[in-house]
Symmetry: C2
Subunit: 268 residues, 2 copies
């Protein structure tokens, strides 16, 4: 048993969708969340830079004495997960492997679409992970860089969202995919629009859900689950202005975010 | 006379449009350009963070012995220019003041629209600068956060660009503006789409052009112009992968960018 918190990080607020899943499946665990809002987004940046940023995030979480770390950001999971496993001793989980496993148990025709940031798609992390589990899978990746900003602006139900989605997803529709991986934490918020564009028969996979299931098994297996029964404590840290995070994050979490602190992540 | 280089910085590649104007109006000046590609964009970040980043950029340029500095980024000009003037002794020019002067000599009906990033518009820097010169000006600011990504994706002539522009500019059209300030270095690339939406009678003001004129007068006035007649030397520095900058920057400059170096801007 271990009552230390779980650490979660993301380039911004998107990772709160992962936190939410974890809090539902592990309701007694304390959580430390870090959002790197001063350097968001990661999805347009190089592997070298994303690894540097991810390592800084992990070191910050370790300074808060976390017992395990979840990389909630798809880009950081795609570009920095393997390197993080080599660098740090603490148990670390990314969203790619859980997402890939969920995808393979969902598809029937083995034709799979993956959407994500430019860096995530260009890394081939999802494509390779899915094919490593299923040699017959045909995986088509499409970078959708406008989606994050559309979500951040609250434009998810506009004609701009619809036309942009139609443009990005055209190739996937032509390939007659039956499964679409939402390979960025912002995309589940576009779920309705995406489903309308690809058609209701296509299953949408949200890796956040599967990641929460896997962190639970991981903690159980390593005997690291908390034995407390009281209400857990969540602490939030960001690298830019806490107020914007409080406002938008509160909407995602459907409750007020009380404890937020600003951290100088570049000079820890 | 002073043959040291002019320093220019921006959050990324957008400032190359300013460099281009300066190189046309001051063809014998050496230039050092810094693009903060590891932390782009600035336009969604807080004033405190943008000031911190701008100061780091200025310190880097000073380490290269520049004789004057141009803040090519509209967001950094809006949020950090005043503070930079107080902090540093080197002559510094932003794009807001030159843009405001050009706007006031352009408008006939004193109804002016300004478009820019969320941070630029919320800072009221353009609105206040224009009204400080012209008490009768009615200035309406609209944040257009999707435009940068649309330009970065090369989507400037698509239906997505058109519909997005129609949504953002609706209020400005209703106010019957006769002048529109392109308050972000990426926006001149959308000029055709923007002009189609607001109508050809509306004048588009590009602050980059006016900024180049003002840096020329400033250097002349302070006797800092170069007296060299040979081809000038341009050196480029970025905080993320130089190759992406080389590729996209080369398109903006219409020539190959040869000398690019990566800089660890956080730990100078």
């Amino acid at each position: 048993m271990d009552n230390r918190p779980i650490g979660i990080f993301d380039s911004g607020i998107g990772g709160l969708t992962v936190l939410k899943e974890i809090s539902e499946q592990l309701p007694h665990e304390n959580i430390i969340y870090f959002g790197d809002t001063a350097r968001i987004p990661y999805g347009t940046k190089s592997k070298e830079t994303v690894i540097k940023y991810a390592f800084q995030c992990i070191k910050f979480l370790l300074s808060k004495d976390v017992k395990a770390i979840v990389i909630a950001c798809n880009t950081a999971s795609a570009l920095a997960y393997e390197e993080a496993l080599k660098e740090f001793k603490v148990p670390i989980l990314g969203v790619i492997q859980p997402g890939a496993r969920a995808t393979n148990s969902t598809t029937r025709n083995n034709k799979i679409g993956v959407i994500g940031t430019t860096s995530t798609i260009n890394s081939y992390a999802y494509q390779n992970s899915i094919r490593a589990l299923n040699k017959n899978a045909e995986v088509i990746g499409v970078a959708c860089p406008l989606f994050v900003q559309i979500v951040e602006d609250g434009w998810e139900d506009t004609d701009v969202a619809m036309i942009t989605a139609e443009k990005y997803l055209l190739e996937l529709k032509e390939h007659e995919i039956d499964t679409l991986v939402l390979g960025c934490t912002h995309y589940p918020i576009l779920r309705y629009t995406l489903s309308k564009v690809v058609g209701e028969k296509v299953s949408l996979v949200n890796p956040a859900f599967e990641t929460a299931k896997e962190i639970k098994s991981l903690l159980k297996q390593k005997d690291l689950l908390s034995d407390k029964m009281e209400k857990p404590v969540y602490k939030y840290f960001v690298s830019d202005d806490p107020e914007k995070f409080r406002r938008i994050g509160g909407n995602i979490m459907n409750k007020n975010i009380l404890s937020i602190e600003k951290v100088d992540i570049e000079n820890l």
